[in-house]
């Protein structure tokens, strides 16, 4: 992400910048919000004393106390249900689901309760929760540590879905999510917790130290929900991506020398449709990239929206590059993952027409 875009979307008293990876940025967002608002509480499996299996909540319990940062029993429906009750009391809970693959036991509480509480109660009760959960593949997580279930939540009215792709955005978007009065599903792409990923799993891993998105202010700032970022301006085609895939796409188009305009959606619902429309009308071509399985994935919604709204500007069919319609495999991970080769072939195809 360019510095220009960073300064354009951020608001707040950010303070001095420092280098952070995405875990540190998330930890900083939680710390900042707990210091600002006594009603913010953090809860989840292993988040308290231990500081989380990914260290996202490290040090928070020691600093803010056990009644504000605490470990929970292993029951996802309980975690989300309890958080809804806390929200009804007047708190602003930030529960963690250890892996997005384990959010399903909480689906009833999320879909039937949190998402519709404001609507069904005529606004008397609300669910100002932010549910954080590591998601996505690329870490040899196999079937139940790799899934990308965002399409399940974008289908639910009343929930916002947010996915950052840099430490800077992770902190600013998380702060905005916590302050939002609607329930937010905040999926953290765990493949890029420690560094951006170019899709080349056989090359040394990068870290955030040289990436502009790794420069993170220590204080309070927001990256507003519902606003996409143009990660790379270009003319040849528009690529819509989020999370890890933003970096894989960016590396691929640069390796291939393609002048693609890459849009990091950042918020899936509500979607920044204006930025998408403007870009596709300019380029005439659109490709959607996500890790999640293809059929009924969020890419289908994006392709449909682009088709409806930019039909007369399109010079080629909207292309979808996604995970396959299978459970996430362990040993064949890199055959499954939509990496540089699959993206590259799709780029050639869409540009040929």
């Amino acid at each position: 992400m360019s510095e220009a875009i960073v300064s354009e979307t951020a608001t707040g008293e950010a303070g001095a910048g420092t280098r952070m990876n995405m875990i540190q940025a998330i930890n900083s967002a939680l710390d900042v919000m707990m210091a600002r608002d006594p009603d913010v509480i953090v809860m989840g499996e292993d988040v308290g004393y231990f500081g989380g299996v990914f260290r996202a909540t490290a040090g928070l319990q020691a600093k803010h106390g056990k009644t504000r940062v605490f470990d929970t029993p292993i029951t996802e429906c309980g975690i989300v249900g309890v958080a809804i009750g806390m929200g009804a009391y007047g708190l602003r809970p930030v529960p963690e689901i250890q892996f997005a693959d384990y959010i399903y036991p909480a689906l009833d509480q999320l879909v039937s309760e949190a998402a519709r509480l404001r609507y069904r109660s005529g606004g008397q009760f609300t669910a100002p929760l932010t549910i954080r959960s590591p998601y996505g593949g690329g870490i040899f997580g196999g079937q139940t540590h790799s899934q990308s279930p965002e399409g399940i939540f974008t289908h639910v009215s009343g929930v916002k879905t947010v996915i950052p792709s840099t430490p800077y955005d992770a902190k600013g978007l998380l702060i905005a999510s916590i302050e939002d009065n609607d329930p937010v599903i905040f999926f953290e792409p765990k493949r890029i917790y420690n560094g951006p990923f170019n899709g080349h799993w056989d090359r040394p891993a990068e870290n955030w130290s040289k990436h502009p998105g790794g420069e993170v202010p220590e204080g309070y700032y927001r990256v507003e929900l519902g606003k996409a970022a143009i990660v790379r301006p270009g003319e040849a085609l528009t690529v819509l991506a989020y999370g890890t895939m933003v970096h894989v796409v960016k590396a691929t188009v640069e390796e291939m020398g393609i002048d693609a305009e890459i849009i990091d959606l950042r918020t899936l619902v509500p979607l920044d449709i204006e930025t998408i429309e403007e870009s596709v009308r300019k380029t005439g071509r659109c490709m959607v990239v996500h890790e999640a399985t293809r059929t009924s994935g969020f890419g289908a919604e994006l392709a449909s929206l682009v088709q409806e709204r930019c039909f007369y500007h399109l010079e080629a069919p909207v292309e979808r590059v996604t995970g396959f319609d299978t459970p996430y495999p362990h040993s064949l991970e890199w055959a499954y993952f939509p990496g540089p080769v699959r993206i590259g072939q799709a780029l050639k195809k869409i540009l040929k027409d």
Binding site: C77, V80, G81, G85, Y89, S112, R118, F125, L271
Partner: protein, 429 residues
């Protein structure tokens, strides 16, 4: 020897599928339902260790005896005014239920659910709780709203989804919500309110508040996973919450055996979690009151949660969409050994010289009139199906705090449909 050879002499396994004692047409005999004498149950200290509740989780706490006297250590020794107010509130719930049931049959609304026979469960609890304690009810605790003085007209407005409806016509009838009365928004999804109540109680404790939470579910709904999650959270954090299980013997057409009642009691479920468990005669308003007061004191003094099983009977159908004669004996409601909660409290008040038949008849007449007046008032705001009571452009309100572009677009699509239909609908002011 092969495994097959070793098993050759074993009888085949058989699957046990529970069956209720009585089906339509059967004569009912409830003598197997154990009803211990009133007053015989011990009343432990509210700080007692949860491990000491075995007996109380399997018996029935009872206060009102066969002669209408209040007896034993659980007698809450209420003054006559409170007793009469509880009797009044229970009778009002019944009058309300009867009128609204009829309104559904008359086509004035789509749906209704009575709580006939279970009035003591909600009314006595509401009297024992502080008015600002938070309730997370299921759909059969309308008595909480009535005891807390919520307007009958507002309840009916909700039932009619009319223009006076606080919930803007968005909810199925009887799914009330009143933040002001500490009555959490009712959900159609069973037992989801259980962990929510525990979370509310945890928040109250974390903030150093003095308010507690109470929640209710039916015995059928105890089978939901949320029940287990809630009890686990409640015990882990010693949450100041009262977990009520209304065991009315029936979950629509399924008898309580399908929730596990053949093997144990619902109060006994508390014991495995390290939660105090009380099993109470749910048709004895004084027992319900005393148990709730006891549990409230336990919660308020940081001794943790209590689970109360209210042993009662669902006298009528599950809802206006249900015909109980299809699956249970018509003789059950009248044969139920714990009687009727209103009749029993009335008998008590008469026995202590604080009430009489004439006053009761007069009260019932007044309550019927009060409900009728409220109904007329509510119907001025419209009944379901008579016109379009909610402004058309309110349909998208409240999905989010602020309406995103895609909902604004869909709202416009709906307004265009209205124009195409040639039937103009009302708009917001």
């Amino acid at each position: 020897m092969t495994v097959d050879a070793k098993r050759a002499n074993l009888p085949p396994l058989s699957l046990h599928v529970p069956e209720p004692k009585f089906r339509p047409g059967d004569a009912v005999d409830f003598t197997e339902v154990a009803v211990p004498p009133a007053g015989a149950q011990s009343r432990p200290d509210t700080a007692a260790d949860p491990s000491s509740f075995h007996e109380l989780a399997y018996t029935l706490v009872r206060v009102l005896d066969e002669n209408g006297q209040a007896v034993g250590p659980w007698n809450p020794k209420l003054d006559p005014d409170t007793l009469r107010k509880m009797l009044h509130d229970m009778a009002l719930v019944r009058a309300f239920d009867e009128r609204m049931f009829r309104a559904q049959r008359q086509g004035k609304t789509s749906f209704y659910m009575k709580c006939t026979g279970e009035e003591a469960v909600a009314i006595a609890a509401a009297h024992a709780l502080a008015s600002d304690d938070m309730c997370f009810p299921s759909y059969r605790q309308q008595g909480l709203l009535i005891a807390r003085g919520y307007s009958l007209v507002q309840m009916m407005n909700q039932i009619y989804s009319n223009k006076g409806d606080d919930l803007a016509g968005k909810q199925l009838p009887i799914m009330y919500s009143s933040k002001e009365k500490g009555f959490f928004s009712i959900s159609g999804n069973l037992t989801t309110q259980y962990p929510q109540a525990v979370g509310w109680a945890m928040a109250s404790a974390a903030k150093g508040d003095t308010r507690i939470a109470a929640t209710w579910c039916g015995e059928g709904s105890t089978a939901e996973g949320d029940f287990h999650s809630a009890l686990t959270f409640a015990t882990v954090y010693k949450a100041p919450v009262i977990l009520n299980v209304v065991n009315n013997q029936w979950a629509i057409s399924s008898f309580s055996g399908f929730a596990g009642a053949e093997a144990t009691t619902f109060a006994a479920r508390a014991l495995g979690y390290g939660i105090a468990g009380l099993r109470v005669d749910g048709n004895d308003a004084l027992a319900v009151y005393a148990a709730t007061l006891w549990a409230a004191e336990r919660a308020r003094t940081n001794q943790g949660p209590t689970l109360i099983e209210h042993f009662t009977y669902r006298t009528e159908g599950h809802s206006t969409s249900d015909d109980p004669t299809q699956y249970r004996s018509a003789g059950e409601p009248t044969a139920w050994p714990l009687g009727d909660p209103i009749a029993r409290l009335k008998a008590h008040l008469i026995a202590i010289g604080e009430w009489d038949e004439e006053r009761h008849v007069e009260m019932d007449r007044e309550l019927a009139e009060q409900v009728k007046v409220a109904q007329k008032e509510a119907e001025k705001n419209g009944i379901l199906g008579h016109g379009l009571h909610q402004p058309l452009d309110s349909l998208f309100d409240g999905v989010f705090e602020e309406m995103p572009w895609h909902l604004r677009e869909q709202r416009q699509m709906m307004l265009d449909e209205e124009e195409a239909s040639g039937r103009p609908w009302a708009r917001k002011q």
